[in-house]
Symmetry: C2
Subunit: 180 residues, 2 copies
């Protein structure tokens, strides 16, 4: 088979990696599984990403950007007339409703930084980015705490299989946000 030049090969591999993690989990991520999902030969994935860590960094960064786009397009965060806690609680509800593949995918990549130092700068960037968006409506320190609380609440739902209680989330977010 003749080799076809593909300037977006790298990008397609990253997208395939995200698909693989979403479907089979991070444990199912390998050069081979990604190659199959992207419909490229094995040598291609190892060429563009020497290690799996590199691939995960690219995938996490991409997922992070997609996530940022979603919450940006949603608006409401900028609107000072809406209550911040209510807004955040409602948004978590939407995020956790229905198909959780996307949520699990993003948390799995994010949490992978626990054991993979290579991912930490990207994870830090993500957390900072979200906090910066909230900082328009409150102070930076409170913003960081809101992110922490949202992470904690989401994880409790995802890890324990509990139902998401929006009223509860709203109340606790309001306590942290104060008058904001």
């Amino acid at each position: 088979m003749p080799r076809r030049y593909d300037p977006e090969r790298r990008q397609r591999i990253i997208e395939a990696a995200i698909r693989v993690v979403g479907e089979k989990g991070l444990a199912g991520l390998s050069h081979r599984s990604v190659a199959a999902a992207a419909d490229v030969p094995l040598g291609s994935t190892t060429y563009h990403f020497k290690t799996l860590d590199e691939l995960m960094v690219a995938a996490l960064r991409q997922a992070s950007e997609g996530f940022a786009k979603v919450i940006a397009s949603r608006g409401g965060l900028e609107d000072a007339r809406t209550d911040l806690a209510t807004e955040l609680a409602a948004w978590m509800g939407e995020w956790l409703a229905g198909d959780r593949t996307g949520v699990e995918l993003e948390y799995e990549l994010y949490l992978a930084a626990l054991r993979r130092p290579a991912l930490r700068p990207v994870a830090a960037e993500w957390a900072d980015d979200v906090a910066r968006r909230l900082a328009h409506r409150t102070d930076p320190v409170t913003a960081r705490a809101l992110v922490a609380l949202m992470d904690g609440i989401c994880l409790q739902v995802l890890l324990t299989g509990a139902e998401y209680d929006e009223a509860y989330a709203r109340e606790m977010l309001r306590r942290v946000a104060g008058g904001g």
Copy 2:
């Protein structure tokens, strides 16, 4: 080699599994690696734990119990004269200081429930257990939120490599706990 009867074989395998996860991460856990760490033949680990999930459940449960013992022995949580937020923030500081192998180990097993439904009941049990301990000092709903916030703060420190800011943690815990 003659086979030696070992009534605590199962327990030794669990302890070896915890050691392996602590040293090599959850990804390094296998029937073989555990067998080597416990100094038992391969067939022994597969006999006592048909699947790795079973082994993880046992390890998480054990780690959870050890954790419970530590915070119980620390006391202070029962003492109504101390400020709850101050107490919790100080305790997180101790936990995160120094060698983080134990912290990482416990969070890694806990977070593994995200993709492994078999672990969820154990994770839920753990979260409930911690919340119940706090419930002596505040209401159950607030207790759950305090656990969520602590998880979120811990994860931000562990995932992003940031420094732990005890004053910040104390302030935010106080906001959630209210007068408690």
